[in-house]
């Protein structure tokens, strides 16, 4: 089957989820839409099971931290429709106060560890996940290290400050 165009894909999503899914970009031809956490499970299931779309492959699941935004943590899904060779990126923003989002591990078994990794590094709590524990970091860690406020190096170090380089 031929590749699904971004317009058609967006049209189908809009037909099904009026107002819940909005396009936020299409960098390098990869359609990026934003969904909300109430509808994300249905959006993912729809994309996976719809006969014309068949996004059966969960390529990647991760998160990004934008400290300056209101919804600081953005969970990012990359799906791939193998029959039409189309990719889509779905984003869901979460506030720091409410980091709950429904799990995708009921839709794809492979989401299990990807969600554990996202929890481990960003503290996103995937509701309904069978075994939401830390995966790469030690169990008794108390912070979520991929958040921007977590320093990589000694914060008192000054020799790499931007103002030394005129930035």
């Amino acid at each position: 089957m031929a590749k699904i165009s971004n317009e058609e894909l967006l049209q189908r999503l809009n037909d099904k989820f009026a107002g819940q899914v909005t396009q936020t970009g299409a960098d390098f031809g990869l359609l990026t839409v934003e969904a909300n956490k109430e509808s994300i499970s249905e959006v993912l299931s729809f994309l996976k099971t719809d006969a014309a779309l068949q996004f059966i492959f969960l390529t990647d699941l991760t998160a990004v931290h934008y400290p300056e935004l209101e919804k600081q943590i953005v969970v990012v899904y990359h799906l791939h429709s193998l029959t039409t060779n189309t990719r889509i990126r779905i984003k869901v923003g979460l506030t720091l106060e409410d980091l709950h989002i429904p799990t995708a591990s009921t839709i794809w078994d492979g989401a299990n560890w990807m969600e554990r990794e996202t929890y481990d590094f960003f503290g996103v709590i995937f509701d309904g996940h069978p075994d939401l524990r830390r995966i790469l970091n030690v169990d008794d860690m108390t912070v979520f290290p991929m958040r921007k406020e977590f320093p990589l190096e000694d914060p008192n170090r000054v020799d790499k400050k931007d103002y030394f380089f005129g930035r």
Binding site: D27, L30, T32, W108, I135, L152
Partner: protein, 403 residues
């Protein structure tokens, strides 16, 4: 996944023994820990513990300029580092809209396919060792050494290669490199043929591997498997064919698929992939001869470090050198997802750039991490010895697992 009988509560034996397989066990080829509940030789349940060599690459990458991230990618799948290096360079080139010359693409293809062969040599050789046949491993290992010598000729190092630069290569392939590649193309096929003759119809090997850890295509897709182990289940998903990068569309090759998704199918798929890689390298060598011989990088002075003698004698080169090293070149604000077909599956780079000198966020889609998560569930009901060869055939590389 397996239909072996699992003893139930009705059996006289009521307690299972706990076995810590790993984190350092000679049969696991890396730092993997699985805490298994054993009923005699049979696995009742297992829990994988990973992260023993987690090095926070994604965090480090947020603090480094693009060209300094290449050495991090070396250490993902260290059995085929060049594929990771090239994947990263192509991600940045996609972000920066850099068109690489055809010759660079073909040079990259040669290196990536050599890396794929090197990786498959290890995996299939070790699979032989784990089933009790050491010979094949030794035959093949000599030729991995030849591949490492080719790397050495091209970039100076062997394991963590840091090969190439954004925009192309740091130096041209010299005539010794080409001679070594050609020598490899002559010397390796007979050995691979002999290796196949040793294993493919070997009664002991087939009995040990056929039907072991068979996975259906539906399960494999649900677990987001990719690479040879997905193709062994019969799904012909190969990034090189689906979304050709680095001019793979110019090459004539097949995507081998298996039937049963078991250890034996994975072995056969990897073997066949080595033949296909050899085919690709041969075509690439022929194509390179038609290209101008002095081109080995794209003309992107703002991102490609100029040669040292120019830096000392040429004003523009000095400016560019300074701007590159200090990270003063403007980059577009964009999000990129770029995938390459790593030796273990789809190796993806999700790069969010905010125009700064280092990525705002970089996420590696690591095939080993995603492939390995089925290991504990699929081991249920399996014999311990089968679980060991199952792990070998998944070819999980600890560096890529933990990142």
């Amino acid at each position: 996944m397996q239909n072996h009988p699992v003893y139930t509560d009705n059996d006289p034996q009521t307690e299972y023994s706990t076995l810590n397989l790993g984190p350092t066990h000679p049969a696991t080829h890396g730092v993997f820990q699985n805490v298994l509940q054993m009923d005699g030789e049979r696995i009742v349940s297992g829990v994988s513990t990973i992260g023993y060599i987690h090095r926070a690459f994604e965090k480090i990458a947020e603090h480094r300029p693009f060209y300094q991230i290449t050495p991090l990618t070396d250490r993902l799948n260290y059995c085929s580092s060049p594929i990771n290096n090239m994947g990263w360079h192509m991600t940045v080139e996609k972000l920066l809209n850099i068109q690489t010359p055809k010759r660079v693409d073909y040079m990259r293809v040669i290196i990536m396919e050599l890396a794929r062969i090197a990786d498959h040599i290890i995996c299939n050789g070790v699979l032989g060792v784990d089933t009790g046949a050491f010979t094949g491993f030794l035959y093949m290992m000599e030729h991995r050494e030849e591949i490492y010598e080719i790397y050495e000729e091209i970039c100076g190092s062997r394991l963590t290669t840091n090969i190439g630069r954004i925009g192309g290569f740091e130096r041209n392939f010299n005539h010794i490199a080409f001679a070594k590649i050609k020598k490899f193309l002559v010397r390796f096929p007979p050995v691979l043929r002999e290796f196949e003759a040793l294993f493919n119809r070997n009664r002991i090997f087939v009995d040990r591997t056929k039907g072991v850890a068979a996975v259906t295509a539906a399960d494999a897709l649900s677990y987001s498997w990719s690479g040879p182990i997905l193709r062994a289940t019969g799904v012909d998903y190969d990034v090189r064919a689906m979304e050709p990068y680095s001019s793979y569309e110019d090459f004539d090759f097949e995507v081998p698929v298996g039937e049963n998704g078991d250890v034996y199918s994975r072995f056969l798929v990897r073997n066949e992939e080595m033949w296909q890689s050899l085919r690709i390298i041969e075509q690439a060598l022929a194509k390179i001869e038609k290209e101008p011989t002095d081109i080995f990088h794209a003309d992107v002075p703002a991102f490609y470090l100029p040669p040292k003698e120019e830096v000392y004698n040429n004003m523009e080169a000095l400016i560019y050198h300074f701007k590159i090293v200090m990270g003063e070149v403007d980059t577009p604000t964009a999000e990129v997802y770029h995938a390459v077909e790593g030796a273990n599956g789809e190796l993806g780079f999700y790069l969010i750039n905010d125009g700064g000198r280092s990525p705002y966020r970089l996420h590696f889609r690591r095939p080993s991490f995603i492939n390995y998560q089925m290991y504990a569930p699929m081991s249920k009901g399996m014999l311990l010895s089968d679980a060991i060869i199952n792990m070998s055939s998944l070819n999980v590389i600890a560096g890529e697992l933990d990142a």
